[in-house]
């Protein structure tokens, strides 16, 4: 119960504080980027969401594997919650990407490797959620979803490698994309790290809440069914 206490009571506060810290860093600590101007600040949200979406994906796969191995319902609930929350972050990446891209590259979309791989990830998330929504309510659907989650994650190395084969990377990308290793300014680095951690924390909290809701609702159904059976 201790762990749950921490998660329930302290985590929301931690997330709130981290958010404030992150916003402070993004707008007041990190300097304005020379070439792109204020728009560049989206970068911190964009990249943090991408990390979180990725973490979500890995969470789905790990919980799925644990579910298949142990058979415990809880892991399936975590997997589903992680997918639901992960897809939100992933969608956010795909929205902030174009918003950032338009003023910088002059176009809404480019087949940039990172954006493309996020798009693939997003599609896999969506297919996972669609399976859970439309394949019916039987127990076996949980196992199907679990193997889909695992199939998704084992493909990641190839996804990353293959998108780099896509021709037509906009040259401007290499100049304006700082990337993690290219961030010269310590203020920028701080902002990115703080925001990254904030988003991860937010992810953990959302997954926790969502899992709890699921567990309660499934428990309720189970109780109801037992009562009906007499």
């Amino acid at each position: 119960m201790r762990a749950r206490d921490i998660l329930d009571r302290w985590l929301p506060w931690a997330v709130g504080l981290a958010m404030i810290g992150a916003l402070y860093c993004i707008f007041l600590v990190a300097p304005t980027e020379r070439e792109q101007g204020v728009v560049q600040r989206i970068f911190y949200f964009h990249v943090s969401s991408a990390w979180t979406a990725f973490a979500g994906f890995v969470t789905v796969a790990l919980s799925s594997a644990l579910f298949l191995w142990s058979g415990r319902q809880r892991w399936d609930q975590v997997a589903r919650s992680a997918a639901e929350v992960g897809v939100l972050f992933c969608t956010f990446v795909l929205i902030t990407g174009p918003i950032w891209a338009k003023p910088i590259w002059g176009t809404w979309w480019q087949w940039d490797p990172r954006l493309t791989q996020t798009l693939i990830l997003w599609a896999i998330y969506v297919s996972y959620l669609t399976l859970r929504a439309f394949a019916g309510g039987e127990d076996v659907v949980r196992r199907w979803a679990a193997v889909l989650g695992i199939f998704g994650v084992v493909g990641i190395p190839i996804i990353i490698l293959s998108v780099r084969l896509l021709p037509g990377i906009h040259p401007a990308v290499l100049v304006t994309r700082e990337g993690k290793s290219g961030l010269a300014d310590p203020g920028m680095r701080l902002a990115l790290i703080v925001t990254g951690l904030t988003f991860l924390l937010l992810f953990v909290w959302l997954v926790h809440v969502r899992t709890r809701i699921q567990r309660v609702s499934e428990g309720l159904e189970s109780m109801r069914a037992d009562l009906d059976a007499g």
Partner: protein, 237 residues
Amino acid sequence: MGVQVLKARSLVRRLGPTRVLAGLDLQVAAGEVVGVFGPNGAGKTTLVRVLATLLRPTAGDVSLFGEDAFGPDASRLRRRLGLVTHESFLYPDLTGTENLLFYARLYGVQNGNARADELIAWAGMEEHGRRQVRAYSRGMVQRLALARALIHAPDLLFLDEPFSGLDALATEAVEQVMGRLRSEGRAVLLTTHDIDRGLRITDRVYILNRGRVTWGSPGPADPDEFKDAYRRAVGAG
């Protein structure tokens, strides 16, 4: 009484939130024909599927021939099981003989061709063996399905509602099979709600209702005692 071939303990099987099997115990010994009776929805079909290792129990265990039915060697144990249900498991686009040969290969039967011919003859289908199952009448399909289940000489045969919708010839074949298996020291577990016929051919019976065994007879069941117990079990639920 022969060696125990099947033992189920505290078997639970959930379907979503409901418990279709709610904790039951059951055993079958070699040379026995055991009957499981119960109304529709009692869980008979699910029970057979769990015992035939098609479904994993949510809780409890099943041992077949002294070994864990869901352990790492489950597939080897399945070689000694036979299953007949309402569906025939026969491929409509293959001929009767081809179907039997396929199952013979699946079960690693040694002289598959000879066995297939033997069983086609036993089912009285020599003329039809080369026709596709799609063209068979229902009675022919039923007899062939039984042949399919016997081709590997199973030590334990499961029959799920073997008498429903059968024609006279097929019914006779089923009863004949059960008798022969018993005399060969093999075992049979059947589920049915045909009480009269069931009582006549079984050595021991269980009554299943709402996923639980509510009554079991230590030997051949006395019809009156049985009907009493059945009425009580089913009426109360």
